[in-house]
């Protein structure tokens, strides 16, 4: 069998970028959470806020460090596997990606060290300011990256001369049509990720009776935020979908599993798209609902996959199902956020074990939803890389062979597998040790520029170490 460098490169890119995306999507939400905690600590002087902030800063340090390490690979991927694309789009993408790097540099140089190592060493106000600037910095970084990505979906402000994109209007290119929606969708997704992870970890501590007072505060904060943001995300997602229908109708057709442009289109709950025969099998749907959602009229016309030639269609099955995974998890998140509100009375939200157990499991869902969402938008753009202007095959490195691509694909899977299992394992150790690590701020030898060293947790589980003793025996059965 001939190895296809195109498919292998796409898999490789999907793998490294999905792996990378997990970390920033969490750290962006967490940075803002820490800034809020710092603000509360500064304003009220309540040591519990500071305790929470100190703990989540440690988690942030590990996640940020992993994001940086996996990010180094990203800055070379475009050149190694997609050199024609790099060459063609460098006039726009080069400055965008460089500005992202510069922002990260600036952030790290100026504020990260103060946030991670400066507690009790710099005035409280300065520490708060550093926390806010780190949070702001994460938004600026995502601004550049999402602008670059959105431009690949809805390219504007450029003209193609001799196979190279030249920027004719920076403002149009940066603020391209899909950018505001994608940026809002992603920022809220980051907040939801941060919120559900903090809620899930706090719930776990509460189940074990650890640091009850602080973790109740954290859980309560998260639930208020999720109550507001989970439904908001649904609205933003809807607007984003309408924007996609305007600019990339075929992607919407794939998301809906709609093969022919027509009116009165049902919302499919289940189907097995059959690309070969250009139809669905085992369809179960709600009549007219897709028309209503997408056009706000019961008999509105919804674009179908037949608008383009078969070879210009994206792979429908994976887009269709990724979309359902994302939306399904989103609805589950809304349900939990609402349950949090209903359980407010008498503090049931921190007592009901089924709710706390549920939140524990919910902490993984934002990551799955985010990756599923990216699958929808990225695979839904196929076969285009720059929508309508450059397809994936044209973008590939001409000298790349299947064997080379396979070699590095396996290589990255092995390297990431080893390195990030160690990283995730260590993160779990930090969570396990928890808020009770009392010697915070006494590490005189701490030095800036090394995020992970802000987390003072040994790598191995050690017997007789104090971290288990103050945990009450957990009764895992729900009541």
């Amino acid at each position: 069998m001939e190895l296809d460098p195109l498919i292998l490169s796409r898999i490789q890119f999907a793998f490294v970028v999905s792996f990378h995306a997990i970390f920033p999507v969490f750290s962006i939400g967490l940075a803002s959470f820490i800034a809020v905690l710092e603000g509360l600590a500064f304003k009220t002087g309540n040591p519990l806020w500071e305790k929470l902030s100190a703990f989540w800063t440690k988690v942030f340090a590990v996640v940020f460090g992993m994001g940086v390490v996996s990010g180094i690979v990203m800055s070379f991927q475009f050149g190694t596997n997609w050199s024609n694309f790099s060459q063609a789009s460098a006039n726009f993408l080069g400055p965008m990606l460089s500005y992202e790097v510069i922002t990260a540099f600036f952030l790290e140089a100026a504020f990260l060290g103060v946030l991670l190592f400066g507690r009790h060493k710099v005035p409280a106000g300065v520490h708060l300011f550093a926390a806010i600037m780190v949070a702001v910095g994460t938004f600026i970084s995502s601004f550049w990256i999402l602008s670059a990505n959105s431009w690949m979906h809805t390219p504007s402000g450029v003209e193609l001369r001799d196979g190279v994109f030249h920027v004719t209007s920076w403002s149009q290119a940066i603020f391209n049509p899909s950018f505001p929606y994608r940026f809002a969708h992603m920022v809220v997704a980051s907040f939801l990720t941060g919120g559900f992870v903090v809620a899930g970890v706090s719930a776990w501590y509460l189940l074990r009776g650890r640091e009850v007072e602080a973790n109740r505060k954290a859980l309560s904060m998260c639930l208020w935020m999720l109550l507001f943001l989970a439904p908001t995300q649904a609205v933003i997602g809807d607007l984003h979908g309408l924007n996609t229908m305007e600019h990339q109708p075929v992607k919407v057709a794939a998301m809906e599993g709609n093969w022919e442009t027509s009116r009165n289109v049902p919302l499919l709950l289940f189907a097995i798209p059959d690309q070969e025969n250009q139809t669905n099998r085992f369809e179960i749907g709600i009549p007219n609902l897709a028309s209503f959602i997408l056009t706000h009229e019961w008999d509105g016309e919804v674009p179908g996959l037949n608008e383009v030639a078969v070879e210009e269609q994206p792979p429908v099955g994976i887009v269709f199902w990724s979309f359902r995974v994302m939306v399904g998890l989103g609805l589950l998140m809304i349900a939990f956020a609402l349950a949090g509100l209903l359980l407010r009375r008498n503090g049931a939200y921190y007592q009901k074990r089924w709710f706390l157990q549920g939140l524990r499991f919910m902490s993984i869902t934002p990551f799955i939803a985010v990756i599923a969402g990216w699958f929808v938008t990225e695979i839904g753009r196929s076969p285009w890389l720059v929508y309508g202007m450059m397809n994936q095959a044209e973008a590939l490195t001409p000298s790349l062979t299947g064997g080379m691509a396979l070699f590095t694909l396996i290589g990255y899977v092995v390297v990431y597998g080893l390195v990030f299992s160690a990283g995730v394992y260590y993160l779990l150790r930090v969570l396990y040790v928890g808020l009770e690590d009392e010697d915070e701020g006494e590490h005189e030898s701490d030095r800036p520029a090394r995020p992970l060293s802000a987390a003072h947790v040994p790598f191995e589980i050690e017997h007789g170490q104090g971290d288990v003793s103050h945990a009450k025996p957990a009764n895992e059965g729900g009541h």
Partner: protein, 333 residues
Amino acid sequence: MELFNLSLIWAFIIGFGVIMYVLMDGFDLGVGILFPFAPTETDRDTMMNTVAPVWDGNETWLVLGGAGLLAAFPLVYSIILPALYIGVFLMLAGLIFRGVAFEFRFKARTSRYLWNWAFAGGSTLAAFAQGAVVGAYIQGFETTNGAYSGGALDWLTPFTVLTGFGLLAGYALLGSTWLIMKTEGRLQEWAYRITTPLLTAVLVIFAIISVWTPFVDDMVRERWFDHITVIWVLPALTLLCAFQIWRSVRNRFEGMPFVATMGLFITTYLGLIVSRWPYVVPPEYTLWDAASAYESQLFLLLGLLFVIPIVLTYTAWTYWVFRGKVRAGEGYH
């Protein structure tokens, strides 16, 4: 209307970034290369502590170089990365392993030996791959219509293997002279002892490379040998630096060996640049062929002019804060 020739400014910025990276990440990679040979585990702790506060700041120059190259000279980015496809992967894998080892070794107890190996192996792999990249660069790249058209392993030749070992020895020399400056007692004595043999290795390999290079490429030969030019001052300075390293180690100076090694690297680097100037993708493309659009170069330059001074100030401040000797048992635990 183009007020300035931005391509030249950008060539300077990226050239500056590259040598900053080579010097700064060079010594901490060097410490990693020497790591398995250190006398004791305590010395290894100390060695790591000398570079721990600064290493990841050093590596940010590499990321900036990659992104800056895409923005300012996309042709270089889109030809050289495919040409060095396997080598780039090996370098990144090495850097990832050593980066993570840095973090976890300090937190590990029973699994420490694993992180030792990850640190030393990753450093050595990354250094060798970078050296091979330099060799591949001297060799030049086969291109067709602005795209690389050679094979996957064209970069791996006897010549590039030699440059790989050359940089490996060079980084080890930077590492050993750095240790002379930053440590004392037994570890420093060990660093003094290995510096002279390392210098000899570097000089021998550099000499072979210098003799070999003109045969690899005609243009380089013409530039150096057609008539005696002012550029011959560079190898003369390189030799002077080498002599200075030897003399200062003999006299047990502490700072001079490192400074002179940096001098050796800078003069060699300039020698490499003048061999190929103004070609950035030898043998075909000059820096003007490779440049991105004027507006794009300008757009990024504005941000960079603001940020580079801050990064440099911060870097200088970090080095200042962590100046002086690192003693056993200090630093991380």
